[in-house]
Symmetry: none
Subunit: 253 residues, 2 copies
């Protein structure tokens, strides 16, 4: 991933070093490394940022500081502004997901991109929003839409990463072979044989047929893997062993 292809993350007047560090960590979680600060309140570098970055120091070491938002985005071609409450501006308002797709597309066309995040207390000023081409607004619980700065960076980075990521939505780890019908039949016949040998069905002879069919239906439905069948064979073996304190009963195993 080249630096030019990824969006710059621009924090405008961030107040807390902790949030800058947490934002850097969130960025690196998704492969983003171009962090820019506009007038950080507590100056730069910042020890609290380092403490919170948890190994994402490389992001902090390459962070650039600017005096104005305009200067921070001067080299960029397409800029999003994040805001919880888009107000009286005629601009596209995108979800993080839609913005991520747009960012990838712009970058694919050679554009340099960036995303503006405002200060913790009040967000971006109208003047900063006016510098952007479009707006990102995170869908949030309308009754509690105050989101932490680093969390906002995380969500945008997450969607940016997802937009290129080819992780299958669902996969099975170490997937083994599904059991075949012969294996299932052997398992089932063993259960039936062992139950019969113990007289399990004696008091319920009339319903034996239905019970066995239900059991077989259940086992079919469970989607057992070949290793699961072996596990069940082991369990059956164990359950049908004689009790330890009955060693004298002469039961051959």
């Amino acid at each position: 991933m080249s630096g030019a292809a990824q969006p710059a993350i621009i924090l405008v007047e961030p107040q807390m070093g902790e949030n800058i560090g947490a934002a850097a960590r969130a960025m690196l979680n998704f492969g983003l490394t171009d962090l820019r600060l506009v007038n950080p309140r507590d100056g730069w570098p910042n020890d609290r940022a380092v403490a919170m970055a948890s190994g994402a120091r490389i992001v902090l070491e390459n962070t650039r500081v600017f005096e104005t938002t305009e200067a921070a985005i001067a080299d960029l071609n397409h800029v999003f502004a994040t805001t919880a409450r888009p107000r009286d501006v005629i601009k596209e308002v995108a979800t993080p997901k839609a913005a991520a797709i747009e960012l990838r597309k712009k970058a694919g066309h050679g554009a340099r991109t960036g995303i503006l995040f405002g200060k913790e207390s009040v967000g971006l000023s109208r003047e900063d929003v006016a510098l952007a081409d479009a707006i990102i607004s995170v869908p949030l619980n309308p009754d509690f839409s105050s989101i932490n700065l680093a969390q906002a960076v995380l969500l945008v980075g997450y969607e940016w990463f997802q937009a290129a990521d080819d992780t299958p939505p669902v996969k099975i780890l170490n997937e083994e072979r599904p059991a075949n019908k012969a294996e299932l039949s052997h398992l089932f016949e063993r259960i039936e044989r062992e139950l019969d040998a113990r007289g399990y069905f004696d008091p319920i002879q009339q319903r034996k047929h239905v019970i066995l069919r239900n059991m077989r239906n259940m086992f079919q439905r469970l989607g057992l893997m070949e290793s699961d069948v072996r596990a069940f064979q082991g369990i059956i073996k164990g359950l049908t062993m004689k009790l330890k304190d009955r060693k004298d009963d002469g039961d051959p195993s």
Copy 2:
């Protein structure tokens, strides 16, 4: 949004109150309010959690504390475990997005759901993962995949919130109830007890722990309904009965 329809967020042995508070805030950002803690390191309630929750106090006030993960999920039907490095378990591994869709679907069918998050330093233990039906793994920069606890909660909550629009308003009527975790635990403990009583593990004592964990993983994965658990209880009862031609062994059933 009713409490039953949303997933419980279960933090297992969280270490820092700050992270509990930040997780609570992230939850409320997406309308989640059922927070459960298993053995929080610094006890409960926790002032640092309150300070970090930023107005999400309601979540903290309703937080329940449990001594074991099993107790924390006893009333749930379908549980995801979040882990960065899924290891040698045969379980579905879902992205947060795919998991969110699944959670909505299960809830639509009346299941109570939950998501396990491990402690900051090492994540979930294999034993905790074994209690879950499936795994959530966040796609992350492979070179920097250490994600903050509250950030992980945020991403899962975000996708859950996002998935709401896609959920088909379909309910399956008369479908049976999925087994809950307490029922599964009882089943599993009975199998273990019966195997122990028969000395099944005697020759393989060293591997007993792993075998039991694998069995538990398997049963979690099978998606048993409440009636399936009853069927298995019946099978176990039958398999552990004394053999008919051994009536003289005095085995009390």
